[in-house]
């Protein structure tokens, strides 16, 4: 690319982003934009894939056939969403193998929430309701992201995820209104998943490393704190309907702000988990590596078979 062109291309790119036009794979884009997108999108894809594990943990123990079908379909959807996102990221010139390698060597991150264990059946409800709920708040904003394939993947994902949150809430409702033991499981799950769900939105706006550039490029559309507040505002009334206690004693309606106030997140824990010291960080990556390695001979066989078929075809042609 000639230098004189570079300026013109940059100007055209900036104009497009400012005008809310989408950037498409074959368009010129700044290197940093591409890098940032690959980081954010692959992290998003990995989150879907690793997110299959904590819920998958209960597929074989789901307590009714209906719940089993719902959970299986939901975890499968997460896999599908990972696929849509890998597919969209591949349009930026990185292969899925490279992304998987980055995940397995811990160069790429995934949502820290999935480093928490699912200990009781109520956790499956809490994950669907709170974790998917938080993810949806984030993803709805991303439907307007500037990169075309990412925005389209988000639209598809949001459409499919509408049932994910509802099934989780319905499960919580069943347990919160059930036996004392069930209600206690539901409360415990809410207490444990509340804070990690709030952490899903990332650090406060002032402390977020990638935020300002990403906002400018419209890779991110709304700030971490705005989205977090939206999630709190929509979730608190849902907790009331369940009849459970608030997981944070400081939650209180603030008439002047028109929002719920809430307590401060324990950021030490947030960074501890991000830096690999959550209860399940090692387990999650090991699981992924093991499945990948166990499948190596299958992929090898597919490759060998394809090569043999191609050779046969060549021989016939000769």
């Amino acid at each position: 690319m000639r230098n004189t062109d570079e300026h013109a291309l940059q100007a055209e790119f900036d104009r497009r982003v400012a005008a809310e036009e989408k950037i498409e794979p074959t368009d010129w884009m700044p290197d940093d934009y591409r890098k940032n997108l690959i980081r954010q999108m692959s992290q998003h894809a990995h989150s879907e894939i690793i997110g299959m594990q904590p819920e998958g943990n209960w597929i074989t123990r789901a307590p009714s056939l209906r719940r089993k079908a719902i959970l299986l379909a939901k975890v499968q959807d997460e896999g599908g969403h990972g696929l849509y996102l890998y597919s969209a990221t591949e349009t930026l010139g990185i292969t899925r193998s490279e992304m998987i390698e980055a995940l397995q060597t811990r160069k790429a991150k995934y949502a820290s929430i999935f480093n928490y264990p699912t200990l009781t059946w109520a956790d499956i409800g809490a994950v669907g309701w709170l974790v998917d709920g938080a993810a949806i708040v984030n993803q709805i904003a991303l439907q307007r992201t500037s990169y075309g394939p990412y925005a389209r993947a988000m639209i598809r994902i949001c459409k499919e995820e509408s049932f994910h949150q509802r099934q989780g809430y319905e499960l919580m409702l069943e347990m919160a209104k059930g036996s004392p033991q069930q209600k206690q499981m539901a409360q415990d799950a809410l207490n444990r998943f509340w804070w990690p769900s709030l952490m899903m939105f990332g650090p406060h706006d002032g402390d977020s490393a990638h935020s300002s550039k990403s906002m400018q490029w419209k890779i991110k559309r709304e700030s971490n704190d705005t989205l977090r507040q939206r999630f709190i505002d929509q979730t608190v009334p849902q907790i009331e309907v369940l009849g459970l206690e608030m997981p944070d004693p400081e939650i209180k309606w603030n008439e002047t702000r028109g929002h719920y106030d809430s307590g401060e997140i324990n950021w030490d824990e947030f960074y501890k988990v991000i830096n690999g010291n959550g209860p399940c960080n090692h387990q999650r990556i090991k699981h992924h590596v093991k499945a990948h390695q166990d499948g190596e001979w299958v992929r090898e066989a597919v490759r060998a078979y394809r090569a043999k078929q191609a050779r046969k075809k060549d021989e016939r042609a000769a």
């Binding site: 894939i49 299959m52 594990q53 998958g56 597929i59 074989t60 123990r61 307590p63 009714s64 056939l65 209906r66 719940r67 089993k68 079908a69 299986l72 379909a73 975890v75 499968q76 896999g79 599908g80 990972g82 696929l83 890998y86 059946w121 499960l171 069943e174 347990m175 059930g178 036996s179 033991q181 069930q182 699981h287 499945a291 166990d294 499948g295 190596e296 001979w297 299958v298 992929r299 090898e300 066989a301 597919v302 490759r303 060998a304 078979y305 043999k308």
Partner: protein, 279 residues
């Protein structure tokens, strides 16, 4: 031999007698047989579905993960349809969940091939291929059932199984002709699975009676076709013929491998730990 053992077991275990034979004094002989048939079909489907679901997040690559889960979901749906019908037939408090979650190994009547562990991908796919060939033919036959509801379930199932077969068949060829390792794994799987195939074609007396009544389909009628189709595929990859004579059986009498108990204790854990709750 198996028959004798079963009889002894039943003599000293009246509960097993009741459930295994589906005997219920309030039901006629015919509806007893029908109930037993529906539960057996449901058991086959739920146990296989459970095994397939164990692949979720463990498959060799993502596309295959989604595909295997779809098969698991199909079988889960099939199990529910059979159980729901059985529950309605029995009436009272019985539901699809009470059938699935509150019976022990001895009361489960699935054919053994469904309960074997997933082992590796070759094993899972070879079992799946065997069952896909079987169910395409079997469910086609069952579509003729004079029982409209069974015919409808079979109609749905045959479509699913046709698709499953489209998937599993090329996998067998690819693995058999891929690398030395993949071929070895297919051959190992074959050695073990071969012993469990014969049971698919066994017709206990009560099921034979249902055939006479126009409700069930005679499994023996499709054995030759199954043999022929499977042999043709395997021999195209230079794999020797397989013997579908009965070697190991007992599933319909509640005599299982040791694998089933572990599967059930996992599957039924919540319902057993907190009986009678809604989830």
């Amino acid at each position: 031999m198996i028959k004798t053992i079963v009889m002894q077991h039943i003599m000293c275990c009246p509960k097993a007698l009741k459930i295994c034979k589906g005997d219920d004094k309030t039901m006629s002989n015919k509806s007893n047989n029908l109930y037993r048939f529906l539960v057996a079909q449901g058991d086959d489907a739920i146990i296989l579905s459970h095994r397939l679901s164990e692949w979720c997040s463990n498959a060799p690559y993502l596309e295959e993960d989604l595909a295997l889960t779809n098969v698991a979901l199909d079988y889960l749906g099939r199990a529910r349809l059979f159980y729901q019908y059985a529950a309605e037939l029995k009436g009272g408090d019985e539901t699809e969940d009470s059938i699935a979650y509150t019976r022990d190994e001895r009361q489960y009547t699935n054919l053994l091939i469904h309960e074997l562990p997933i082992n590796d991908f070759a094993y899972t796919l070879l079992r799946q291929y065997f069952l896909d060939v079987f169910y395409v033919e079997y469910m086609t036959g069952l579509c003729q059932s004079s029982d409209q509801r069974i015919a409808a379930i079979a109609g749905k199932s045959v479509k699913e199984s046709r698709y499953h077969l489209k998937r599993s068949q090329p996998w067998i060829t690819q693995l058999a002709e891929g690398t030395e390792e993949s071929r070895r794994r297919i051959l190992d799987a074959l050695t073990e699975l071969e012993s469990f195939v014969g049971e698919l074609f066994e017709m206990p007396e009560w099921e034979q009676q249902l055939v006479t009544d126009g409700i069930a389909f005679d499994r023996q009628l499709i054995r030759e076709k199954w043999d022929h189709q499977v042999q043709a595929l395997l021999s195209a990859s230079d794999i020797n013929i397989l013997d579908s004579q009965l070697k190991i059986g007992g599933g319909r009498e509640g005599i299982h491998t040791e694998f089933l108990g572990h599967l059930l204790s996992e599957m039924q854990y919540l319902q057993r730990a907190y009986p009678g709750l809604k989830w």
